[in-house]
Assembly symmetry: C2
Homo-oligomer: 526 residues x 2
């Protein structure tokens, strides 16, 4: 297996030589209808990835298949799940998929079968959650815990928070919202204060999440929370659990009711299906719901093994994104879920994608001569339609769009207005937007003219269930992984976050000079 | 006064001929310290706009001043606040600044002095809020209302929501959180269901916000809410007020307890300081707090009259943004407030900026030959540092950054860890980031190498109070307005949202063809 820079591949030259597809032309009339019928790839749980409105045709697809083959993308995926050192910078395996299924060979590291290790943690967390729910573990007054609060930042916050919010209403409607969940992340002291003011500390379990056990924000917020618990006359060690690596100072520590483990082979932004998401989601929704998320993710992971790009949605989505980035010159992607429950899913994907592939060196630390990861942003529709879509439709730059739509809403309640339900209106809007962006509309008044030619894809699912959510999560994790393989970057480290940490420490130690001293004064730090 | 395309101005050619400033070089050593001391502009309420880390020098600043003069930017602002028809597409005045102060001549439209009209609405809303707070207006059981829920989308949601969240903790700490506020926006039926499940309908006032009284999402959600009120055995007309134009079907309508008015001269995304924000904020925090927001905004509006770019932060911020967009080739701006309270402020600015200046025709409906508004995205720090900053530091594209920092947090509670408070850590981080982005750092390991040269500005304030919040809001409104003047676009219409509405209606009426029919089937709409 070869790890070569993208620009060295034959496929790179071939892709560059292709005539761009006129999205407006091919999406108009019967041609457009035929594309919607045929340009779709199957996903887990009956989902569909539709790429009809993307700037691809048979020539582009053939070139993308050739790229997938030449770059050995599914072989590299197999190497990853079979336990090779894919995170070259930190010399680590990359095993988050192993949390949800065995895709290949047994992976033994540090003398441990890692699948068994992750399963054992899931089992322990499930047992712990069951005890909390059944009253086997109670607070000092012998009362049940009702609330769970995650203390974590970055991957320990965004993914778990996005998943919790995605299923909160569904769980209420299905009588499986067992505990309310809240999140404390920012070192801004007002974040912890605001969360603590809104909960009943005496009936709350806090989940402290830090792989290393040394994350500044998280330890600071732990102190905040411990002060609040003590101020309520309670014992912090009876209200906290830890999610960490088994070598961290938080592991097996009497300051916590229990501790659950991930390891160095699961990066923060890929950790939502590890104990980082598993502890809080098992507590909030019950272990069965968390298991269903894992099932959906495992099915999607399995589909990502297929070397045929038309049968592998994550791979195809990745390749189309690369084509847009490197050959069509688009620098951004908007993620637009038509579901209020996915309100923070774009923020999670923003980290997942930008932190993984926002790199300027290849996996061997050598400079590269092509652009890598795009900027990701987004908000739920229809809200975004009344906000930034103006620029997407009529701005001077083209921004590829990634829609997500559902046939049904999560709760039973809906209302019939003017002959249609709200869910029908929601779905009608996403269908309309895709066509509006692709086909545009003529108008003699240039202010009301839509050029069209603005590409999008959509993932369509029946309903946002735990399985569908897990599959969606895995789809994007695998998309980002495949793009990293194409760009030949290490998608699993994040050296770009280090310099800021070093300089912040210098400020706090009052060891600054030049501009940093002046900014410190301006901000009144000391 | 001339309205000419940017590319026709002498300043355009001059700006294009300037040598780019090497941010890394000028921000290093004593030069950097001197820039931080001198490259700052005053703002209202003691705030400072620091542009030391931007790619500007004396030559660039002189050229930007020449642009401001040649394009008559402050004259155009004066024309706007003196009541000229600045919104050329819709043939409307643009009067949102008049909600918070009289900047110029009396503006009389439709036979009404508009300043007096807006003041009268503020006074009526204040009296209404006082009655609610004092128990002069109560629910059917004679009990006080405790909760207020806004029903609105786009500008009727994002701005008011961002402002409410910005002051919620501050208000709690200052005993002026008089009612909890919630927001229903999305046509997704689960949005309304989730909000309604979390509140006590019997003690809730709903604020229905729609200028035209015809917004699909808002009327649909109104029905949702009315059903919930009726299901609780209550009378909807005793629980709802309307914010609308005085000609809309919602005005003076017995279905509402009262109605408060804005008009066609205040665009949705500029309406946070009109009754759109005023009703809910007066109810949540009391009329005095809303008045303080208006005071801060009015002071900032007054500063924006200054033709000297070094004394006019909004103007300078606008011009630097134009320089980055049109001459340095940067297509995005990240808004990064170091305050959890500003968690949704970037989403508001995203609408404000992208909906205003995401245009491809000038104010006369003629095509233009230069790029306009950038993509805006952002999340609070330090959270973003653990998410997408990797790409900002080491990605292959440069993205200008707009930081916002505070010297103090909003609540009194803080914790001392390793000798510093959380607030000090927060501020140290933003100072460190600016310098890390600007100056970078050498490293033989290219994976740990930071190129630097990544420009940023920062607005620094003491503390996020109502006045500061109002001033911040006005700063960005005025920045966007000035950029629209430079680009010669109409920043006050949004024709780009219309096509999607038309096609969605066609779907719901089952009057589709081609791709739209197929997408409708895929989404299972009928």
């Amino acid at each position: 297996m070869k790890w070569e820079n993208f620009s060295k591949l034959n496929a790179y030259a071939r892709l560059g030589s292709l005539a761009p597809v006129d999205v407006k032309a091919v999406m108009s009339g019967e041609s457009g209808a035929e594309r919607v019928r045929s340009y779709k790839a199957p996903m887990a749980e009956g989902m569909v990835y539709s790429y009809a409105a993307k700037a691809v045709d048979e020539d582009v697809l053939a070139a993308l298949q050739a790229l997938a083959d030449e770059a050995e993308l599914t072989d590299k995926y197999a190497a990853l799940y079979n336990g090779e050192v894919i995170n070259t910078g930190e010399k680590r395996l990359v095993l988050h998929q192993l949390c949800r299924g065995q895709l290949g060979e047994d992976v033994v590291a540090d003398g441990v079968n890692k699948r068994e290790f992750y399963l054992a943690q899931q089992k322990r967390a499930a047992e712990f959650a069951d005890k909390i729910h059944e009253g086997g573990i109670v607070n000092e007054a012998g009362e049940k815990f009702t609330t769970v609060v995650q203390i974590g930042i970055g991957g320990s916050d965004l993914g778990p928070r996005a998943l919790y919010l995605a299923l909160e209403s569904w769980a209420k409607a299905n009588n499986t919202l067992l505990m309310d969940a809240h999140f404390i992340s920012n070192v801004d002291p007002d974040d912890a204060s605001a969360v603590l003011a809104g909960i009943d500390v005496a009936h709350s379990i806090f989940v402290l999440v830090s792989k290393s056990g040394t994350t500044l924000e998280t330890l600071t917020n732990e102190s905040f929370v411990k002060n609040a618990i003590k101020a309520a006359g309670l014992d912090p060690s009876k209200h906290m659990i830890a999610v960490t690596s088994d070598a961290s100072p938080l592991a097996n520590n009497p300051d916590y009711l229990d501790s659950f483990y991930m390891d160095d082979y699961i990066g923060g932004r890929y950790s939502a299906t590890s104990m980082v998401g598993g502890a809080i989601l098992s507590l909030a929704f019950g272990p069965d719901v968390f298991a269903r998320i894992l099932d959906g993710a495992a099915k999607e992971d399995a589909l990502a093994k297929n070397p045929d790009i038309r049968e592998n949605a994550a791979l195809l989505d990745a390749l189309i994104g690369v084509y847009e980035r490197n050959f069509l010159g688009y620098g951004m992607t908007a993620v637009l879920p038509y579901s209020q429950a996915l309100s923070r899913f774009p923020a999670h994907l923003q980290q997942l994608d930008m932190e993984s592939n926002g790199k300027s060196v290849n996996r061997f630390g050598e400079p590269i001569d092509y652009v890598t990861g795009p900027v990701i942003f987004g908000e739920p529709g229809t809200n975004g339609q009344h906000s930034f879509y103006q620029l997407l439709h009529q701005g001077t730059n083209i921004i590829p769009l990634q829609f997500i739509g559902f046939r049904q809403n999560q709760m039973d309640n809906d209302v019939l207005i003017q002959g249609t339900t709200s869910q029908q209106k929601l779905s009608a809007n996403v269908a309309a937007q895709i066509v509006a962006f692709a086909c545009g509309r003529e108008n003699e008044n240039r202010n009301k003219f839509f050029a069209g030619g603005r590409p999008s894809s959509i993932i369509v699912a029946d309903k946002l269930t735990p399985e569908i959510l897990g599959a969606l999560l895995a789809h994007f994790e695998n998309k980002v992984m495949f793009q990293g393989f194409v760009w030949n970057v290490n998608s699993f480290d994040q050296e770009g976050v280090q310099l800021g940490k070093i300089l912040a420490k210098a400020v706090l130690a009052q060891e600054t000079e030049g501009a940093l001293t002046e900014y410190s004064k301006l901000l009144g730090i000391f």
